[in-house]
Symmetry: D2
Subunit: 311 residues, 4 copies
């Protein structure tokens, strides 16, 4: 197994910053790839031990490229997630002032986050899209644009300086969620504040079909954290559902919910159980009556005693 | 263990006839008791191996005396059920004709079944209640009444003859269900056409509480065959629920449903799993998608493989 | 319309005491009938304006005789309910002492309430059943028995004295619920603390059928207060359900729930909406989010605006 | 009101072709806009009567740009939908043969649909993205690329010829759904085969919250055709749901479902009811027991009669 992690490059983006927050990243070679697909393929073919890619952000919701890769093809599993707050710096060549700026660039995904700032401070500036925020910074370094929106960390790499930092339009802190994806193996150990990801295909389509499917979680006191529909490829109106649910496959309630889904769905793809990145602030699962591991174990023991006639 | 079965007496009633349809009754001493309570107490104190009592009929529904005995006190378990079609004969002393009959008697429970017949054929006859149908026949033998409604089988015992047979008002064949009740032990073996009886106490009372409780059966494709509320003794409006559900505790779907009930209920009392008396005509369970034993086993194995990362 | 109320007699029973708590009873002639059936028939044929009968008690649950009369035959409606706490007095001829008592009597329904007291204080006394508690008192007056359990109020009527009062085995105060039943007319006015009674027949029997039926109440935040199954007469295992639910048919949530039941049930019989007898202690309905009349009205207005394209 | 329809340009794309299938398009001026946002803004500010934009396709699912515009900002309503099967032609300058092609272009959305064809027939060709398929065709005309994937209809406009037609990778016919969006007004008339679109915001997040929300459709027999989560802007993990459901707001079942959603949701945005583009092949709604308009009307009348005591 190569001791390398593939990630969505280029270097100097938020993805790399997020990846470096993982302790295990310090001991791996970190290799940028040009696309989510190529990073995940590197894992599939054994070029990389794991891939680190964005999967959800507070502006776009689920990142469909990543979800579609996980939904189809050779199975992969999620082992870790990282949440990164995204704020932009306005990077310029040293000496540039605000009034010098006629052109700005960044990855199109940055635009919704800086639009209001731009309108307020640089109403006349012309926007052109770059292939990545890092690439935008490089183009400023090369003199192609006057300024780039990028992570503040990119300034040093490209010899730029940050004229402004902490730029983000959203009243709520913009966040992106990244996942570390590998080939199927034993899931990450249960921490008590975990998340489980699955893809669900309905057996048939009738009133209540999706409600019943979600009921497998609900009746066991499991909260949902993401529900993202993705086309199955069978034509318009045909969807599967990417679901993130609160808890670990080793939690009894989750194991039983997954069993229930497996029984009633056409297909279920397990994408892993892994520690929640927001474990410090999260309310923990199993807090609804009758859904703790202890209650599941006690109930199973009671049924076993009934089956033996001892009670 | 005494090789005797207690039953709700006296001799010569439908209960005894029903009991004698059980093959195992041939090898036991059959002992009549004056009440359901006394017959069940005989089991509880070890005087009898089992008790045979009525539990449901097509006129009264659940027999509350029997249900209340099973709901409270030292736990008992149901091992067998018997369905008996109830039709009455009009028993008279030999030589009596219809026009001779001025007084008729029977147990009060018989009245709803013969009322229309009586109105049509003996509109002037005076009805008086007897302690049992067998006792009514005895009183006719003694000359106290002119005729008794009872099972045709009682004629021989009391030296009477049946002036009319097959009397039953209900357009549908009147039936009574009897159960053989013993101390808790291993349930009757699964036959594939079984019934499971439980008593359920809700944890609390809120909109949807009872619906959610029934949902534990419904989401696993389990049909209900009886739902009878009984007072808990905590005052008016406080009920527990006697439930008969389709299937055996060894069926995976039933075991999981019982676990679910155990988790969400204040209390669950298991009353046994036993062969359905109507197995020949019944549609079998597990016929809903995703609820067969095979699908439960496959789903459990799939979850286990996911937990190991092998899929 | 005759200004008379039929009630389950004889005079001097708890039923009469309960009936006299209704202000309107003061202006009617109160006529005892020998049975629930005959009292209700008096209403059906126009002999009485209304009938007052027991419908539920804390020992027996729903009174099946009454429920079966309401379920079948010419429709009737409930207009009032009364809750009466039931405690017994031990009535004897003046001069009788506890040690003189060899025989006791009362209606069989009294037995579960006095059994423990009897065992503790008169373990040797022989019990024989009477047709009613009032009749038991009369038989003591006539010297047929030494003592009768009855309401303390019966002592004066029969020239007896109460050797003991406040007898009731149940740790919780035993209560009986009575209803005033008339021919169908406009329901009792809404008070804000009401109860609605219906009988429900399922369209077919499949897993979840009863759950879905109860769901019509649950999804509209309506609490259930009684669910009593009664045989439909179509043979064993065929039941309809007598339901008491919290709220008035004029409450929007209840009207919509009844509409839902009407649509999905084979048949629904409306038995009336009437003030709760426990209004002083009850939590009121409509306290669940989205279920108040105001929210129903607002939602209906919103849909109407959408249908007009004004929003 | 200007008699013009804005549409997502440029001219000569699938969007224009789809728009021209609407009879009413023949009497309007059709004005291309550079983005979905600008086309919808043209409606909002009154520059255009309506806008025609893609909303869902069989590869991408819901088009998030369009959904996000409908979810937020000044309310808009959908009046029509069009389904268009998407197949590509390979357009070249006259005389070009397959072996001449070194470079190909098209809008990035075309890539998933032609990837396999490209690998099989032009494995060496270099792909570069164009701003639109029409723009790609223009660039071929100008000699910048050798071939463009576009609709066959674009050939004539740009003086190109189709070397190959009917290209689509998906085994199922690729389709795009377009909608005609205007300012809020009376919805399109009910045809009996309609679709209703809404956006739902949950009141709070707890296990079962989304299930209960979908239950408002399910309990009224309403099928869902699209469920697409979109970020609310309140940070990661906060979603609203764009739902397409079978039926018209004038259908009783739909009106009641919308009322239910309005009551239990934090917010509901009605996006319109309009004829289904697949009406010829669709199974119609209201085919589940108890959900037809007739049954709703009958149930409402029954409740009204109960409220009056006439039944």
């Amino acid at each position: 197994m190569p001791a390398s992690y593939a990630y969505l490059g280029p270097e100097g983006t938020f993805t790399e910053v997020a990846l470096r927050t993982l302790p295990e990243a310090a001991t791996r070679e970190l290799v940028p790839y040009v696309s989510v697909q190529s990073a995940l393929d590197a894992v599939r073919v054994g070029e990389a031990e794991a891939a680190f890619v964005p999967i959800e952000n507070s502006v776009e919701g689920g990142i469909t490229t990543t979800l579609d890769e996980l939904v189809a093809g050779q199975p992969l599993m999620i082992y870790r997630e990282v949440l990164l707050s995204i704020t932009f710096a306005l990077l310029v060549r040293p000496g540039t002032t605000l009034s010098d700026i006629k052109t700005v660039t960044a990855h199109p995904a940055a635009q919704p986050q800086v639009r209001n700032w731009l309108k307020a401070h640089l109403p006349e500036a012309v926007w052109e899209s770059a292939a990545s925020n890092a690439d935008g910074a490089r183009l400023v370094q090369e003199g192609r644009y006057d300024a780039a929106f990028a992570g503040e960390f990119a300034a040093a790499r490209y010899g730029l300086e940050a004229l402004e930092t902490g730029i983000h339009d959203s009243p709520h802190n913009a966040q992106t969620r990244f996942v570390l994806v590998g080939r199927p193996a034993r899931p990450a150990a249960r921490t008590g504040a975990d998340k489980t990801s699955v893809v669900l295909w309905q057996r048939d389509d009738h009133p209540g079909a999706l409600r019943d499917l979600l009921g497998e979680f609900a009746t066991r006191g499991i909260n949902l954290m993401l529900l993202q529909s993705r086309p199955t490829g069978a034509g318009i109106g045909h969807y599967c559902f990417c679901v993130d649910a609160e808890g670990h496959i080793s939690d009894r309630r989750m194991a039983e919910a997954l069993m229930g889904l497996k029984r009633i769905c056409l297909q279920v793809r397990y994408l892993g159980s892994y520690p929640r990145a927001d474990a410090d602030t999260a309310e923990l699962g199993g807090r609804f009556p009758g859904t703790s591991d202890e209650e599941f174990v006690a109930a199973a023991e009671w049924v076993a005693r009934c089956q033996d006639g001892r009670f």
